[in-house]
Symmetry: C2
Subunit: 280 residues, 2 copies
């Protein structure tokens, strides 16, 4: 009960308040669906007490989420199971459920491994270097798109996340996709909450789909996303790059990489996503 009282009297950052909420909040949606990255962070937070019962494995190191049906704003339950408790890592399974038309429906099922990222990230021996981009103040936010020019109405999530797109990879926002399948941005929470390993799971899937840069502006639902968190991020802006190289029929992969403000690679992911392709 002491924990609950503390929770109620502190002012939480928006992300932490949303994670603690018994409802999936409309503020973290894209279209009608709750953002996949937010759902993954919520699931990791839900399984953590079970895989980290003794405090040795506090950080989600790997998480593979299979998206079964779109999560909607509203009430939900998280079910978590300890799969294996190990010396340096522990593995769990976690599902997110909602009620729909009187039935319990599983939205997402994930396997995940937790460990101590402080011990598992030093020394850094080799890494992918961060891409070269102009500083955040020379990049574009959604607010910078001239009125009537935007091909993409900003979703509610953009009220919570400050996202500054590299001009070299943001022509899709004004209807001129580069068709390179590449997008780069600086990202951070608007309310100054600093990044941590849990929020990296969110940021891995917070960008608009890479498919936008191929001229496919529709929803690109994720079928599967696996994220690896490789280090505790430093405070400040994160740099995110997403790319897609392999696109067949309606399926494409999207790779995301995140570097922290010191240029350290802190997380990466690959997802398999579906897109709707207009008949030509």
């Amino acid at each position: 009960m002491a924990g609950t009282l503390t929770l109620m009297t502190e002012t939480l950052f928006e992300f932490d308040a949303a994670l603690a909420d018994s409802q999936l909040d409309e503020g973290w949606t894209i279209g009608n669906a709750v953002n996949g990255g937010f759902s993954m962070a919520r699931m990791a937070a839900g399984v953590r007490p079970i895989v980290d019962a003794d405090g040795r494995h506090p950080d989600c190191v790997a998480l593979s989420a299979y998206f079964l049906s779109a999560a909607r704003p509203g009430s939900y339950t998280v079910e978590a199971e300890l799969v294996r408790s190990g010396r340096t890592m522990s593995t769990g399974q976690v599902s997110l459920w909602q009620e729909e038309a009187g039935e319990r429906v599983e939205r997402i099922r994930a396997l995940t491994t937790f460990g101590d990222l402080t011990a598992l990230s030093e020394p850094m021996r080799r890494q992918s270097e961060p891409p070269s981009m102009p500083p955040p103040e020379e990049c574009f936010g959604f607010a910078d798109v001239p009125e009537g020019m935007s091909s993409f109405p900003p979703p509610p999530i953009m009220d919570r996340v400050d996202m500054r797109f590299d001009p070299a990879t943001s022509t899709w926002a004004v209807g001129q996709p580069s068709r390179q399948g590449r997008m780069r941005a600086w990202v951070r929470f608007r309310d100054a909450r600093e990044p941590d390993p849990l929020s990296l799971l969110f940021f891995l899937d917070a960008m608009p789909p890479a498919a936008f840069d191929l001229g496919l502006m529709g929803w690109a639902p994720t079928l599967e996303l696996t994220g690896h968190v490789r280090a505790v991020p430093a405070a400040g802006w994160l740099q995110v790059e997403i790319t897609t190289d392999n696109f067949s029929a309606t399926l494409l992969e999207e790779d995301a990489r995140i570097w922290d403000s010191t240029g350290r690679l802190v997380a990466q992911s690959r997802q398999l996503a579906a897109v709707r392709v207009p008949r030509s």
Copy 2:
């Protein structure tokens, strides 16, 4: 019973015979452990009847395996569950168990999505081009390493797989790792079994670890591996490239990509693996 009789009277290829065997065969091991790629293929074969009950979703499109403890040659059981049956894809869960010291021990747990790759792979819209390499007859097999020069005794799996390493990325085999974290090879089954989507799961994790090319010649156990199978492969040699870019403390990722004999990208994977790093 008709099916069983057919099975007993046909001559099976080694890979298919091993998949049908009630024992994990020593011929598919690396060190003391059953190869992870073989185990993934076995698990996909085990879950298929459940996710593909009506024959609409015959192919494993995505599989995320969490390796909990090393699988050993000997008896095992596979437990499979249907998670969701959908219109274009179905998702299942599958575990591989063995007995150890009188206890049931879970070796690997996986989530997987199946679909119809013929429908999900055409048309091919964009892809990663295959690397440029000399033809198989100009590449090195394990048998080509001069006696006494090999830093890597060929594991039993190499009796089953014909693997021809690109000379440009095989100096690790004679104790001269390039430290690029990159390895390329042509691969095929020695008994002329042609590749199919199921065997691609095996080939995604059949190469020596990319860590060998960083000079780390020990076992590199996989913690998590997610594979995406993107197309039905054509007959003939497969071209495999593995790379690692991010290596901290004892953890590194290894990405694998496979192209078929027509140059089509047919599968890719990323794994998180652990290595033992000698103190310097």
